[in-house]
Amino acid sequence: MTTAAPRRFEPVAPDPDPARRPLFVRIRRSTSVRDISAVYLFAALFVIFALWEPDTFLTLRTWQVLLDNQAIIGLVALGLVVSLSAGVVDLAVGSEAGFGGIVVAWLLARHGVPIPLAILLSLLAGALVGVVVALLIVRARIISLIATLAMSSILIAVIDWISGSQQILDLGQPFQKIATDELFGLAYPVYILALVALVVWYFLERTALGRRIRATGGNLEAARLAGVRTSRIIVTSTVACGVITAGAGVLASSQLATGDPTIAQSYLLPAFAAAFLGSTQFHGGRFNVAGTLLAVLVLAVGVTGLQLAGAPIWLPDLFNGIALLAAVGFAQFQKRPTTRTAAIRRILRPRDGLDQEAVTKPSAQARA
């Protein structure tokens, strides 16, 4: 049965060249619920809360605060997108942010290091964490899930050790201004997020490095056999992730005017929910920057709206948890084979295909 038997397969229905499709088809495709469900979700949430809480939800201030708050979560999510693209499931992103935040606070308040140097050192600390994570994965061959879970715990311990489990205060007015000063009504972190998003998008989507990162995440062994130095690629992406998340932590300390040892955990789940919900958008199943930013916004609108409506304090956690499950579940649902994709799969894996066919349709064959 392993014979190269003549296997008939129906050619996949030919799609015309995307550029040559009629305009209305292109519009219909680009607005299909399948690819941009989050946009519709956003619209629905907006309408619901606009009707429910018009006095608060529709004010400019609400939206300014929302964007200011979400900028930091957005940064953490972007860092996560970089590492997820390379196939590293980084459960330490939250702790990496917390670590960056506590290091900068510690340097400023306890050691009087100048602000630029303090920021630089804490970004370096983030990079160092990235290197350690990569070495655990590449050299010690520990799967990323476990390596980063352990790393997360270690980082939390380090954070507590550095801070003595106390908030670090007196970071100074100039440092505080970084995350709270506004330009055109929006705080600086929003612009920083936009800039980082642009850079990450450019590298992931447009450069050879990004292509190699995605190849590594798509199939590490195949990428290696195609000449991609996958170990270096993993180091590069975890370091990038470490720097971005540490930067997010610095902004968090600046925004709170405190080095808070407890913030670490509050970023992990929103970042994962955003990255995974984002992966179902635009590029169908692939982690991407635009989808992630959209997802951050949708999740924030949901949480903010519920809070404005007087929801209890535990609600954001519930909302993020459900959103993560829904996003991943939805992605699985998208992947479920329709009859056509099932046919394609049969051709894809001839051997399995035959087995499946035989196993799933014995009765049909017996009747024939």
Binding site: M1, T2, T3, A4, A5, P6, R7, R8, F9, P11, V12, P14, D15, P18, Y202, R206, T207, A208, R211, R212, R214, A215, G218, N219, E221, A222, A223, R224, L225, A226, G227, V228, R229, G285, R286, T341, I344, I347, L348, R349, P350, R351, L354, D355, E357, A358, V359, P362, Q365, A366, A368
Partner: protein
């Protein structure tokens, strides 16, 4: 001596003993192909029935039908003895067939005792402490009965391959209340050392002596002769011959396995035709080209002391049964596995062993057998897969990949390999196996390799794509690429290669080229000469057999 049963399907009556298994008019179709076509056979108590045939002759399908993994086409019946001499349809009367597959199905970390206990129902003992002493004693007795004096407390992973097989057999036999069972051994000796085979055969003979029946499926004719009482030959899904093992000689058996028609010579003609057609446009015939690859004393985990060289424009094949090292040689040269000794030179440069990226830089390309796991990044688009091995070849703008240039490169190559549908931005996973393989080949041809290594290049590929892939390989050779094809498909090797290296036990034991390179000779070499050194002797005989 061999009775040809291509026309009549009634099996030869077993010489002795009661019939334990009867298969009558068994067929199995997969969409367009008949993998098994009206096969009938019987297994009697106390005999070993060997089933031989090429890859794709229907052996595995038969095993899967017996195991119930596949359902037979209507009309086919499998009957087993119910213990009192009557035959009842399979499935009505408990487990009467027992399978020892190649991988044996043992848990390597558990001890022999634990492995033997796994399948047994616990009943009320599930909560009681295990009676270790008694269980160990029982396990030891059981394995000793089949000729293995082993430490039943040690993890199975520490046993030799024959000992492991014996444990598997003991487990299959454990719990038989009467001996009227059939044991199916599906190529059990593939991973064995020569001297271990005898131990396994002793164990099998003991099983037979109990009064059970055995079906033995093997690639190696010497083993078949040593163990079997009767031999059934399958070809193209049909039961084509059956004879007592004592009446066999190799030539007759190979003739039955390959078929007596002279298709093989037609194949050779096609090869020459394709070659000359392509060669007229390209430089250098196979003999004239300079040496591109020189492998000297190469050794690794599954390969020992391999020495050969390959010229520009030459297509060489690697043949051998599974476990002969055939499937490991290419990855060793490419650097997927790190060689333990020996030297590989490419042109004048020594290849840095164990460094894939460096090998690619030096002009080596490798198409692995496992496309899904190793060959391609299936979630990425065809275009992205195509340009991955040499991204530097695509123009840049502001450090970014110039998408127009990449699209142009992609267009050229999908034209070259005739990708269908010609939609390079689709994920590669949505293409058919043949078209995926075309992209995998194209991505390497794009790097303009000096040496192209192919492992099972047309596995799971439809016929149309197969022809296209052969054309591409021939064209690359005509342009001066040295090609090394490792394949289990004798037809493929005869239609692609100038010469074929024969491997056995990790060593190159012979070579076929020119007139001697025929399908019959290849199969003869692979089947008959399990023992090193005989390959060369058997070549002329096999070559003239058809």
């Amino acid at each position: 001596m061999i009775e040809d049963h291509a026309a009549s399907t009634s099996p030869v009556r077993p010489a002795s003993g009661r019939t334990l298994l009867r298969v009558s008019h068994l067929s199995k179709s997969f969409t367009a192909t008949k993998a098994l076509n009206d096969v009938s056979l019987e297994v009697a108590a106390g005999e070993v029935l060997a089933i031989v045939g090429q890859n794709g002759s229907g052996k595995s399908t038969l095993v899967k039908l017996l195991a119930g993994i596949h359902q037979p086409d209507p009309g086919g019946v499998i009957e087993v003895s119910d213990g009192s001499g009557r035959l009842v349809p399979l499935g009505q009367e408990g487990h009467r067939l027992h399978f020892i597959h190649q991988d044996l199905g043992l848990l390597p970390m558990l001890s022999t005792t634990e492995n033997l206990d796994l399948g047994r129902p616990l009943g009320t003992r599930w909560i009681l402490p295990a009676r270790r002493g008694a269980e160990h004693a029982r396990a030891a007795e059981l394995t000793r009965h089949f000729g293995a004096a082993i430490d039943v407390r040690a993890p199975v992973a520490r046993l030799s391959s024959a000992e492991r097989a014996i444990v598997a057999i003991a487990r299959a036999l454990d719990g038989w209340r009467h001996p009227e069972n059939v044991l199916v051994l599906d190529e059990p000796t593939t991973a064995f050392h020569r001297d271990e085979v005898g131990r396994l055969f002793d164990a099998v003979r003991r099983v037979v002596a109990l009064g059970a029946g055995v079906i033995f499926i093997s690639h190696r004719l010497d083993e078949v002769r040593a163990l079997a009482d009767r031999v059934v030959v399958l070809r193209d899904g049909r039961h084509v011959a059956e004879a007592p093992a004592g009446h066999l000689d190799d030539a007759a058996l190979v003739r039955a396995i390959v078929g007596t028609d002279v298709r093989t010579d037609v194949r050779t003609d096609v090869r020459t035709a394709v070659r000359t057609a392509v060669r007229t446009t390209g430089p250098a015939g196979s003999a004239a080209g300079p040496v591109v690859l020189a492998v000297d004393g190469l050794g690794g985990e599954h390969v020992h002391d391999v020495t050969f060289s390959l010229r520009a424009g030459e297509v060489a094949g690697v043949s051998g049964v599974l476990g002969s090292g055939r499937e490991h040689l290419n990855s060793l040269i490419f650097g997927v596995d790190r060689p333990s000794r020996g030297r590989i030179t490419l042109g004048n440069d020594r290849i840095r062993t164990g460094d894939v990226t460096a090998a690619i830089e030096q002009g080596v390309a490798f198409v692995p057998a496992d496309r899904h796991r190793l060959g391609a990044v299936l979630p990425m688009s065809a275009r992205e897969n195509l340009t991955l091995p040499r991204l530097r070849g695509v123009r840049r703008r502001l450090g970014a990949i110039d998408r127009r240039d990449e699209a142009a490169v992609t267009r050229r190559w999908i034209g070259e390999v005739d990708l269908r549908p010609a939609l390079p931005d689709r994920p590669l996973a949505t293409f058919s196996g043949g078209n995926q393989q075309k992209i995998v080949l194209a991505k390497w041809l794009r790097t303009n390799p000096r040496l192209l290594l192919l492992d099972e290049p047309t596995q799971g590929v439809d016929v149309g794509a197969k022809a296209a892939i052969y054309q591409l390989v021939q064209r690359a050779a005509a342009q001066g690429t040295a090609v090394l094809v490792a394949s289990s498909d004798a037809k493929e090797l005869t239609s692609l290669c100038d010469r074929v290296l024969l491997m056995d036990q990790g060593r190159v034991v012979g070579e076929l080229s020119g007139e001697a390179l025929t399908e019959t000779a290849l199969i003869h070499a692979a089947l008959a000469t399990g023992v090193s050194g005989q390959a060369a002797d058997s070549t002329p005989e096999g070559g003239t057999a058809s």
